[in-house]
């Protein structure tokens, strides 16, 4: 049931992105008036809760994007099942690397 589980996660991450990114847009563009000011961004960057919030968005976005890209590659290149395994490892490593880098930058800036 591997593909079904991956697909369920795809749907869940899609809904999660809608909620998390929706809250980000709602908060920064409608609830806060000084959205483009340096202080507004610096305040959020210094807050652990906001950091966790954006890392969560990064996780959901990464999974959703990479799984979507995997589906496109599967369909357009008709790759064999053994090559799919190699592709999966490439995506896992790339995803973890991007997640690590994307998390390291704001943590370092705290």
């Amino acid at each position: 049931m591997k593909e079904t589980r991956l697909k369920i996660l795809q749907y869940v991450s899609g809904i999660a992105i809608f909620i998390v990114a929706g809250f980000h847009i709602l908060y920064s563009h409608f609830l806060k008036e000084d959205v483009t000011e340096w202080n507004s961004i610096a305040d959020r960057a210094a807050d652990n809760w906001w950091l966790a919030f954006y890392v969560l968005l990064l996780i959901f976005g990464l999974y959703h994007g990479l799984h979507g890209l995997r589906t496109i590659i599967l369909e357009y290149f008709s790759i064999s099942n053994s090559t799919v395994k190699v592709l999966d490892y490439v995506f896992i490593i790339a995803g973890l690397a991007i997640l690590g880098y994307g998390t390291y930058i704001p943590v370092e800036a705290l």
Binding site: M1, K7, L74, S78
Partner: protein, 268 residues
């Protein structure tokens, strides 16, 4: 009445590098089908034209072709329905061409076979040499009945945009047939088929374009079957699927005397 202009795809792999179109003029007759036009061409204009046909009544599924850019059965397509005197006939897309309008549809049967389209039970002995009947309610029968009418013409596979891009994708016909047997209460191999369709080139590559259901000459809805199959897989994966009760074996009804007396044969 105006004559029909048939533009027919010709391709002989021994001579041609690629398919080309050839035009024929066919006299129009009221009620004629596209297959009638092709038979006229073969009998009167060019006997080298190759196409498949058999029953001429939309049952055998042999005469599938691309008619005016839609996959259809030639025998089941009245010329009047096309509302034009220009008729373009090509071999079914998504299949290699053997000659002219004859596609090589082996891949359809291979994929169909791969989903194990037959009843599988633990008590297989009873299927081989039945001594009892497997009880099935009307509702249970209704849950898969329409998908049993598939004639394996392969039109759905040629209409499917995913089959066009991914040659390894199972496709609508095998997936719908996989569902048909998983939904059958007499079958006990649901999990076995789940493993077959739950692969990288399996059920989840279906984009729900619905082209298969549009193309089906028997009015089936393979796209709907695939959606129902996906629901089965998701509920199974989440552990919320109600495990269906297998159809119980019951004794066949005893033979009884007919209420109306059957007259004896007069010829002996």
């Amino acid at each position: 009445m105006q004559d029909l202009n048939f533009k027919v795809q010709r391709y002989n792999p021994d001579k041609d590098n690629s398919p080309h179109m050839q035009e024929f003029t066919v006299p129009f007759k009221k009620g004629m089908s596209v297959l009638d036009g092709l038979l006229y061409i073969k009998e009167n204009l060019d006997n080298t034209l190759a196409f498949r046909s058999s029953c001429r009544m939309g049952i055998c599924g042999s005469c599938g072709m691309l008619i005016n850019n839609l996959p259809r059965l030639a025998c089941h397509t009245p010329v009047e329905e096309l509302e034009t005197y220009k008729i373009e006939v090509k071999s079914l897309p998504n299949y290699p061409i053997i000659k002219d309008l004859v596609p090589k549809i082996d891949v359809l049967f291979e994929k169909h076979k791969s989903v194990k389209p037959y009843l599988i039970r633990e008590d297989n002995e009873n299927l081989e040499r039945p001594e009892t009947e497997l009880y099935q309610s009307v509702e249970q029968l209704d849950s898969f009945m329409q998908f049993s009418y598939c004639i394996k013409c392969g039109l759905c596979m040629s209409a499917c945009p995913t089959v066009a891009t991914d040659r390894l994708f199972l496709g609508p016909q095998p997936l719908a047939q996989g569902y048909r047997y998983c939904a059958d209460s007499r079958d006990e191999a649901g999990k076995e088929r789940f493993e077959i369709v739950d692969t990288p080139h399996g059920i989840w590559l279906c984009h729900m374009a619905g082209a298969c259901s549009e193309a089906c000459p028997k009015g089936l809805d393979p796209a709907f079957a695939i959606q129902l199959f996906k629901r089965m897989l998701v509920s199974q994966s989440l552990g919320i699927r109600k495990q269906p009760k297998s159809a119980p074996a019951i004794q066949p009804p005893k033979t009884s005397k007919p209420k109306i007396a059957v007259p004896e044969l007069t010829v002996k």
